[in-house]
Symmetry: D3
Subunit: 339 residues, 6 copies
Amino acid sequence: MAGLKYMSGFGNEFANEDPRCPGSLPEGQNNPQVCPYGLYAEQLSGSAFTCPRSTNKRSWLYRILPSVRHKPFTPMSCGDLTENWNEVEPDPNQLRWKPFIIPKSSENKVDFISGLHTVCGAGDSKSRNGIAIHMYTCNTSMTDKCFQNADGDFLIVPQQGEILITTEFGKMMVEPNEICVIQQGMRFSVDVFGETRGYILEVFGAHFELPDLGPIGANGLANPRDFQTPVAWYEDRTVATGYTVVNKYQGKLFSCQQDFSPFNVVAWHGNYTPYKYNLENFMAINCVAFDHADPSIFTVLTAKSTRPAELFRCVLYELAGDPQHTCAQDLCLLLCHHS
Amino acid sequence: MAGLKYMSGFGNEFANEDPRCPGSLPEGQNNPQVCPYGLYAEQLSGSAFTCPRSTNKRSWLYRILPSVRHKPFTPMSCGDLTENWNEVEPDPNQLRWKPFIIPKSSENKVDFISGLHTVCGAGDSKSRNGIAIHMYTCNTSMTDKCFQNADGDFLIVPQQGEILITTEFGKMMVEPNEICVIQQGMRFSVDVFGETRGYILEVFGAHFELPDLGPIGANGLANPRDFQTPVAWYEDRTVATGYTVVNKYQGKLFSCQQDFSPFNVVAWHGNYTPYKYNLENFMAINCVAFDHADPSIFTVLTAKSTRPAELFRCVLYELAGDPQHTCAQDLCLLLCHHS
Amino acid sequence: MAGLKYMSGFGNEFANEDPRCPGSLPEGQNNPQVCPYGLYAEQLSGSAFTCPRSTNKRSWLYRILPSVRHKPFTPMSCGDLTENWNEVEPDPNQLRWKPFIIPKSSENKVDFISGLHTVCGAGDSKSRNGIAIHMYTCNTSMTDKCFQNADGDFLIVPQQGEILITTEFGKMMVEPNEICVIQQGMRFSVDVFGETRGYILEVFGAHFELPDLGPIGANGLANPRDFQTPVAWYEDRTVATGYTVVNKYQGKLFSCQQDFSPFNVVAWHGNYTPYKYNLENFMAINCVAFDHADPSIFTVLTAKSTRPAELFRCVLYELAGDPQHTCAQDLCLLLCHHS
Amino acid sequence: MAGLKYMSGFGNEFANEDPRCPGSLPEGQNNPQVCPYGLYAEQLSGSAFTCPRSTNKRSWLYRILPSVRHKPFTPMSCGDLTENWNEVEPDPNQLRWKPFIIPKSSENKVDFISGLHTVCGAGDSKSRNGIAIHMYTCNTSMTDKCFQNADGDFLIVPQQGEILITTEFGKMMVEPNEICVIQQGMRFSVDVFGETRGYILEVFGAHFELPDLGPIGANGLANPRDFQTPVAWYEDRTVATGYTVVNKYQGKLFSCQQDFSPFNVVAWHGNYTPYKYNLENFMAINCVAFDHADPSIFTVLTAKSTRPAELFRCVLYELAGDPQHTCAQDLCLLLCHHS
Amino acid sequence: MAGLKYMSGFGNEFANEDPRCPGSLPEGQNNPQVCPYGLYAEQLSGSAFTCPRSTNKRSWLYRILPSVRHKPFTPMSCGDLTENWNEVEPDPNQLRWKPFIIPKSSENKVDFISGLHTVCGAGDSKSRNGIAIHMYTCNTSMTDKCFQNADGDFLIVPQQGEILITTEFGKMMVEPNEICVIQQGMRFSVDVFGETRGYILEVFGAHFELPDLGPIGANGLANPRDFQTPVAWYEDRTVATGYTVVNKYQGKLFSCQQDFSPFNVVAWHGNYTPYKYNLENFMAINCVAFDHADPSIFTVLTAKSTRPAELFRCVLYELAGDPQHTCAQDLCLLLCHHS
Amino acid sequence: MAGLKYMSGFGNEFANEDPRCPGSLPEGQNNPQVCPYGLYAEQLSGSAFTCPRSTNKRSWLYRILPSVRHKPFTPMSCGDLTENWNEVEPDPNQLRWKPFIIPKSSENKVDFISGLHTVCGAGDSKSRNGIAIHMYTCNTSMTDKCFQNADGDFLIVPQQGEILITTEFGKMMVEPNEICVIQQGMRFSVDVFGETRGYILEVFGAHFELPDLGPIGANGLANPRDFQTPVAWYEDRTVATGYTVVNKYQGKLFSCQQDFSPFNVVAWHGNYTPYKYNLENFMAINCVAFDHADPSIFTVLTAKSTRPAELFRCVLYELAGDPQHTCAQDLCLLLCHHS
């Protein structure tokens, strides 16, 4: 998988097609009456249609079969996932969890979905405001199964073990010290290569963006060109035994069956995509004479709440204090929602 | 009722009086120590006092008896009305309801209030954010009874049967292919003329407004002069048997008795009023060469959420797919909250 | 002229027609292929087409002959009008002018146009930012002549003698202690009834609006319903000897001839109109215990500069100090541009 | 306590030290490696680090022992405190409570914490939006005990009996007709001098600010220089028997023990402080000719909600109608959250 | 030149290098101490360093020799170029120019620079606000000569004859019915292929952007992916006879000499680039039932003035009325500054 | 003068009085009918009355004689001061001036006013937008003479020789490596102690403010508490031979005579004051791993233009390249207007 290609730039209007189908991307219009290769045109919206340009997000996907061709969704077990914060009593003390144990694959096959554990959160998907922190611990790749989050965006921070993420937009390999973002409504499947663990920051009702830099100027912190988006890749694969789509919707899990792989997007264009970033490229800034800056100086990405407030102070202390992690990486994760 | 008169314009500062009482509208001030005809001056606020001009809404009503002269409210049955969305399990599938059955008046006398059914919603009146979708099905006029919604604004879309709405501001006849808006706190009574059915979109914490048009320019979509507001009309009527006021408050119904008709406003002025609009006047805009525009191009009115987001995608699909309705009308209704 | 009628409300979407031509206002659309009575439809824009609703200004006029049917404009003498402020040396002293002398009509016939004198100003019409203060002194009505200001809006403050203003939108009688506004591009003619004098505040690139009231609340200062707009009135009059249109354009005067009266608008609708206001209706607010408020508390109308600044302090002192005028009226005038 | 000193100004960047320790405030930097007198430097944040200047709030405290040196918090009884509004059925009637009875100290020793009663509210601390209204009734000073509200800011309005408030920033004596504000996270202890009662307005997710004045101008209502902030005062006191810190966190109470007084801040600087205001200094503004202004004209402080709405109308009526209180004072309190 | 390649997308963060120098674009940082191939790193700023992300524009260029290595600039003749609008008397009449005559190359060799004629304008480069309209008529390519506009951006609209534009960022071929934009400070050279003519819209102090679409939604008018940016191309060429750089600075022309081609940028990345657009791709929107929309509905690009105003009405009439041009293309040009 | 006292904090609401007159500052109101000690109350406005709180600037001064008690202003020579930029031809080359020569006091007595030389600028005081750069070179203190700039604010950067500035608000000693700001309309007098030279940055229509810090957080760059404002100081001095007030007004100088010292302010309060800052306290921030940040990272103060643009690039190069100055100090000065 060393040969995976990416396109650079944050929030770009990308346009690309799988090289196996030259001309599959329609030119000069989005929705021709007949698409090249007989593909189906679908718009995936990441914002209200009427948002201003700078926050308007959508992509057009040209696929072999339409995404709605599946059987009805039925509820399934949510495992350790939740967004009902009232289940837990509040606790003002600084907490410290032991590292989450990764189950042995010899004992228990656990994939990315069944290995999700909610740690904490605030707000919920219905009110379109808030965040949740999850862990994932797994030892097995997802087979003929994909995941789709109808509730919000996932910022994934691998802590142990690289993960290969196949999405409707193409494939990404994400290693520890990299982060990636899968936005609301994008289907993806995760392959792992051993015992694997990481964090997930889920945001409801907002997308991640690069912070305004103010006096720092036109360059600095996470530079936009260091973000990487996958290139179009498809498989035209029938799955007679049934392909499972798992949908997180209003904090609960549902699944449905279809008889083909959802990764059948031959070409796509737009500015609503998954992407990854390598923390090594972070152009660190700090005080050079005396004192030290507030930890917001390590912001990689931010997702704006409706009111600028310090919602998550306890979370910050807890994870930063966990000796199992490198501190810099955690701060990057945890500060992203800090206004 | 063909002779009903209306004043044209959206959001105008109207000033008018029932012609039976010339001079009943005080000139040059709002709150004289003694009003003409001994009327009582009342301000009905539609916004915080301190809102900027463009969102500041209030009207002054000059009435025969003050609106607070009633006995205490007591709870009553809410029937099929609710704003507790947790009662229903979430369901990510596209839904389709059968048309709501209108009860036969020979079997069961149902008026506008008792015929209200909540379909779905998000948010609530207490947090001042969100919407609810209701249906109304009825066969009988409201007699010596009025309704008042303390929770939000009603956008009413008749689907079968015209309705005659008497309000504190005057009378409106609303037919299918028209819509009307009764804003928070305005008392009204509904007369029907047979089996009657329609939608209601209720918004909490926001008022409907005309969308900014951007490149469309100074004219287009719903033009402001095609909105119609009733003219002042009053009745000075004692109701010895008791006049019932029904109040929707925090999602529940309450009722109280008084011994006179609340439609005793002789004159009024202000910019906070009920109004109606005929969809035939919609100046439709769309692509003229290739592709087609997003459905937001059919926006008649909009009510801004605190964050621009696609809260109601499932609702859109569901109603648009119902073969019982003309599609254009439904879209107008459903897009109004898309921001 | 006591019988002149007005419509009430500031910034309303008005719609009206001269009662001599019922049905002359097209319904449900702005620009029919054939207008009633064979009238010509013209849009008069008061803002860029793309302004947001709250600042988008335009009216549709339905007239007997199109406004462009005139001979070319030629330069004429500007008299005492100017917008070249560099002609005068700056002077930091507080100034006080003697009252401007009104010429005797027995000696010299002077109408509104020839009686215009520029007092001071800043900015200019080309940069679309700034103001000018003019005086008018006249003794004769304008005959077969109208004025049109392509540079900005006129706020007119009669100080001696009422004036009858005929506009494309109808007629207004304006007396001392009243003010009126004729916005950019609106043609008007002034009749006087003796020796007449007053101030004009001209603003470039902005329109007058009612100030936001902040803690004062939903009522106070100049209430919107006390502003009065004329009703449609037309004359279908041929002027064989030539009707003169005078145009102020980039600070200079031009004139052209046409063979009919420009006041031939039979019906109109829109929110871009002339209007007047009686200062007696001002709902004055001030300190009631100790100290006194800044003079901005007397603001009637405001026209926003691109930066909130005290551009006109010297002007304020000068006119307020003139013992010939009532102070309250002057302050109202002079504070309108204070932002 | 007549000798207490205060610094004047609202929102100032104050810098001061207890005169018993000259030089204890570090100069030219916030966080030296070794502070004067061996003090510990702590930053107390009142906003997200990244807020714009006008809303960025924080103070630096230099103290004898760090604030985190305490034993774990454990839950304690909340008494009559709550933020679960669903416990009470909604009631649209105007309510009127009897005055809250102050217990006799001969019967029952009640201090400020145990005398807190929640009256009503909306929103909650977790969503960072909303308010609560509490009463306090007490007869005993807090001994070796302090309170800290992690949920929001307290605006305290004494109604009977003055209170001496010791805070980490210094001491304030607050009497009836004065109000004071203790912001989120500031520890304080209350001494009383007899039977004592008052209101508390708690706001979640926002801080109090002075309202913009609009046309009122640069002076008026509550003038900024009349707000008073205490001067640095410390005690270096060991409490062998244990000093109790009570923490309100997500609407519930928790307590912990430490062996020293938390009022050990020798010097501090910053713009996040407690403060008080005497209502006698309110520069009242109102109509001087006819009508009267909306009650927002009595606004002392305001705390912005995310949407400008009239959340608390019923509250306004209820307290204003209570004959036990002076009306002016109640209005000041209740209007502060009105936009 | 049919083989020219472009990258798609408006405002993207592009990153590319001439394929003849693989690895010439530094990875993971902007300004290494030693660049690959010994190139010089230069940042070209298109905005203040401190602009928010959505308006922050800059590119990093990696070139063989630094751009400042040239002899001093000396004034040269400005020909028919000007930005002193006071030279011409104002004229309120609608004007119509005859088409500009293209000189015959057999009589007079005229290149792009010497063929520039200013038509009209407002504002100027020093105040960083306003526009100018120029024509270019030429018959000869620029040889060893480039142009650089320090005053503003050029939107070029070829009307007769395609033009090959070599820039520091690469090469673009622009034909009639295409438009292109060369932003402030970018050096370029124009090759022509016969008699050539076109318009130029110059804007001062603002960059062109895509308009917000409002109710039109997420697609429509000029779609972002149809904008094309050249790919990196360089020449390492010594010009012993001298290469001339012409600089437009504060409305006047200056020239200097250097001994190498300025098109020596081997690799570049950033979001500040030249680009072109084919008007055939414009997704036209208009009324589909009655009336017609304001001409702003044809907006391709917009450059915001500090105040939204109709600065350029006369210009609009004049060019639109010229029978030599296709109307649609002119409107696209002329509406771009309409706010 | 080592004993001068200052109050700390940027933009504070200060309140203070000369200790020789205890009680001279009125309490609880601004404008008593009779002030303590018979002083005259004057409000000095630094903004429009109606600005929002965060930009509303004014101070109240209590003085022995009113400031308007002077004879008329008469024009005087402007020396090398100008704001007419058209006098100089534009020049795109990078410029470098030789250091300005300070005249010998033995040859020519030159004080601060007569030693002012304009270097360059853009915009002007009349349009309330733009800046000017001046130098001052002097060898003699101002005797019985003060200066007042009606055009804008002076940011003064001493380069050689400390200066003692007496203002209406008190006295400041400013040394090289310090900067100070004297805002519009504040009278001041400058004492020197030998050959003295420095820069002045004058801004029109805006005041200096601290930049928003974005991700840098709540501390950093110039911390607000390190700004110092003088304490009230007055002299009650009659000057029989005449005290000269020099006024810069619309770019020209005027002078008038009065018979007393203008530094007769016994007490004052407000947020519109002179202040100084020591550059040693600048908490420098920069890249700590690779690359370096844009020079905006050295911003001390900023004065916002109406459009964020790089107006002054040439100025930046020129002064930064002057080997006579320390680079850091110049950058601080020159970047302050960079958006």
